[in-house]
């Protein structure tokens, strides 16, 4: 960080935008040397997440194209239950918030609150998965499995892929809790926690798109 005197001088210009080249501390121009490892780790994982979002967009495109191809089978309007979707949305949104709380606790190096927030995040994620699994079971029991129509194949591929991501996230979450417990806030553990937070928030962004495009538009059609 810059010296306190310099901080005061840049009070109205926290990023030193107007002083590039003079002070040597304008950011993003390489004048302060390479970015720290933490910044590079976060940026690299952000690139992976964007590629994951691009992959999801292919499933979304397939779903949008095949939405009307019900082959005489049940439509989304007959299958989807708004109450269940609202409950799943609430679980995932609250888990995203508690995950953010774990990041705050980590920033202030509180192991107890980090573990507690991660645990609540995991419970909410598990509740989401159980609700979704029972939805899928009900649909399959009513003869609306992925083999019924192109619409249902696309539905199970898209929503199931998100569910698999949440399952992988839960495994990762358990691993991070164990690593924080055993190894504490080592630099590499902090980097992994940053990546896990980014991953979990991104899953919630994808769920926002799913509950709108698949469930709400399906119910409204």
């Amino acid at each position: 960080m810059a010296a306190p005197a310099a901080d005061a001088a840049f009070a109205g210009d926290p990023y030193h935008v107007g002083l590039e080249g003079q002070s040597g501390i304008a950011t993003g121009h390489g004048e302060g040397g390479p970015a720290s490892e933490r910044v590079i780790v976060g940026y690299g994982f952000w690139l992976f997440l964007l590629s994951d979002i691009v992959m999801f967009s292919c499933f979304f495109a397939a779903y949008a194209v095949l939405q009307a191809a019900t082959a005489g089978g049940p439509t989304g309007r007959e299958l989807f239950n708004p109450g269940r979707v609202a409950a799943e949305t609430a679980c995932l949104l609250l888990s995203s918030f508690t995950c953010g709380m774990s990041a705050v606790a980590t920033q202030f190096r509180s192991r107890r609150w980090t573990q507690a927030s991660l645990f609540v995040t995991g419970l909410l994620g598990l509740a989401f998965l159980l609700l979704e699994a029972s939805d899928f079971r009900d649909m399959a029991a009513r003869g609306a499995g992925p083999d019924r129509s192109a619409f249902l194949s696309a539905f199970f591929a898209l929503v199931g892929c998100h569910g698999l991501h949440v399952s992988a996230g839960l495994l990762w979450l358990g691993t991070m809790m164990a690593q924080v417990f055993v190894k504490g806030f080592r630099t590499d553990i902090l980097h992994r926690l940053i990546c896990f937070n980014l991953f979990w928030h991104t899953l919630d962004i994808i769920w926002v798109a799913i509950f709108t495009v698949v469930f709400l538009l399906g119910l409204g059609a």
């Binding site: 960080m1 810059a2 926290p14 990023y15 080249g21 003079q22 002070s23 040597g24 501390i25 304008a26 950011t27 993003g28 004048e31 302060g32 040397g33 390479p34 970015a35 720290s36 933490r38 910044v39 590079i40 780790v41 976060g42 940026y43 952000w46 690139l47 964007l50 590629s51 979002i53 691009v54 967009s57 292919c58 495109a61 397939a62 949008a64 194209v65 708004p82 949305t89 609430a90 949104l93 995203s96 918030f97 953010g100 709380m101 990041a103 705050v104 606790a105 920033q107 202030f108 940053i194 937070n197 980014l198 928030h201 991104t202 919630d204 962004i205 926002v208 709108t212 709400l216 409204g220």
Partner: protein, 132 residues
Amino acid sequence: MNAAGDSDNRQGRQAGHDENDRAPGIVEEARTPGAAARSYAIGLALSIALTVASFYVLGTRLVWAPAIPVALLVLAVAQIGVHLVFFLHITTAPDNTNNVLALAFGVLIVGLILAGSLWIMAHLDRNMMPMR
């Protein structure tokens, strides 16, 4: 350019890193846990409001019925924006340029895939020979 001042400044920096840069997903300026948590609390409140609005719009007569899908999509885009700003801490600050550029490229690809697929498949569907 003040070359001598630059090199002095660089040597004084910890481990030669640009500590002013910021990674996605981190708020560093917060000095107290309460201030750091506030961003997430605002994000949660806005997300709940937008989610409730989405479910409300579905069953209301307040919005002209043919416009409901558009309203739902607008609410979803707004909520994704809220998540990006308050949960992932993507900002317009210069230290976030790399993250924003990567996001812009991702949005471009997603837009191409979605719009392109829908356009091409609708076109093929319309030009298909009758099945019987």
